[in-house]
């Protein structure tokens, strides 16, 4: 009898264990706190648990099934509040720094004066690629800034009708010029890659502040460390704005709403920082340094300018072509 009782107890214990084991996964599948199908579920509760509220539909476009997507509010807050602040600080801050620097330092002169001898700095094709990319960049920058700042700055000045026409034209220009800009960035990458690999000379150039302060002239090859930084910012920044821009230009080609919101954020932030850096590039290539614009304007630079800012490159060129060749370029050298 006692044995029967024990066997019965063991069987009951085993049955309870089996029941508990079977019930555990069922309990684990239950929603933790919110039943989406409950009639009384609160919208806010759903949004706390899910990243979106999505329904059912019969239209083939499944994107229309999304009823609410809270990330959209974050995105709107970004491009309405954060991006204008980031862009404003970056662009206006850079302008302020450049103005202060110019007032303090003035134009960097050719200390030894012009020699009257010109040497070729950039070929006609290099200048063509530079100006194609630069012209596109300026128009892309202005039309892009219009998207972020236009309604705050231009709309009150020119009125809704003119602002609408201008914004429409700017939007078309922004899309259509992107192709030439992208081509320019690719060509710049390929054309100047070999001259823009960092080396020890660049470390020294950076340690000496590039000679911008005082009257120092640290040696440099064809491109100094500052120009190399500009190069990599153009290549990497250009690639970033191009890729994200094309994702926005071709919506839903491999992306969804959330992906495009991220793409727009990256595009906006990289673009405003890109513009700020290019302002510095434009400054040093024009009013910031005597003789610098000629390199891209005419393709040649004065020999003394080259010796002061790119002494190692001049040595390379003299070894390659011979000093006599440079002397022969005393008269204006054909730039194109």
């Amino acid at each position: 009898m006692a044995v029967c009782t024990r066997v019965r107890l063991v069987l009951i214990a085993v049955a309870l264990l089996v029941f508990a084991a079977a019930a555990a996964p069922v309990a684990a599948q239950q929603p933790s706190s919110v039943d989406p199908n409950a009639a009384a579920v609160q919208e806010q509760q759903l949004l706390e648990q899910l990243n979106r509220i999505q329904g059912l539909g019969t239209i083939p476009d499944t994107k229309s099934y999304v009823i609410e997507q809270p990330m959209g509010r974050v995105w709107r807050g970004f491009h309405e509040v954060w991006l204008p602040w980031i862009g404003g600080i970056a662009v206006l801050g850079m302008l302020a720094v450049l103005i202060i620097f110019y007032l303090w330092r003035g134009m960097v002169r050719i200390e030894s004066g012009r020699s009257g001898i010109n040497i070729v700095r950039f070929s006609a094709f290099e200048r063509f690629v530079h100006w194609m990319t630069a012209t596109c960049f300026i128009i892309l920058a202005l039309s892009g800034l219009n998207i972020t700042f236009g309604k705050h700055v231009l709309l009150p000045l020119i009125g809704p009708s003119a602002f609408s026409s201008w914004s429409l034209a700017a939007k078309y220009a922004h899309s259509l010029l992107s192709f030439a800009f992208t081509l320019g960035v690719v060509l710049i990458f390929l054309m100047w890659l070999s001259g823009n690999i960092l080396n020890r000379v660049d470390i020294q150039w950076l340690k000496r502040g590039g000679g911008m302060v005082g009257h120092d002239h640290p040696p440099a090859y064809r491109f100094n460390a500052g120009q190399k930084m500009i190069y990599w910012i153009v290549v990497l920044g250009g690639a970033a704005v191009a890729v994200t821009g094309y994702l926005l230009m071709f919506p839903f080609y491999g992306t969804n709403i959330a992906d495009m919101q991220i793409a727009q954020g990256v595009h906006g932030v990289v673009a405003v920082l890109f513009i700020a850096v290019m302002l510095a590039h434009i400054y040093i290539g024009t009013i910031g340094m005597e003789g610098a614009f000629e390199a891209m304007g005419e393709g040649t630079v004065d020999l003394n300018w080259a010796k002061e800012h790119h002494s190692l490159w001049v040595e390379q060129e003299q070894a390659r072509t011979g000093a006599a060749t440079m002397q022969g370029q005393r008269s204006a050298m054909p730039a194109e």
Partner: protein, 90 residues
Amino acid sequence: MRAFLLACLAILVIGVGGYFFLGSMQESSGAAFATDGARINPDWAWRSVSTQAGAGETPQGECDTRKAWQWIFVDFARPEGESALCSISQ
């Protein structure tokens, strides 16, 4: 100067090419995401939602065929004398 003018010309040419390229690739949002691909599921209608017909039952007698205007204006009414079950299938 000549390099700059050539660059402007290249921008124009590439821009015009881009215009035609985009024209062939992109559709207006109305054509891309709206009515072209829309269809009505014949197994479901607002009528079946608004009526309380029993599921799984078959209608007794003849059901009226809905006219186009009834579909267009989402007609919730049921013709007089018609079985409520008719709403399920239309």
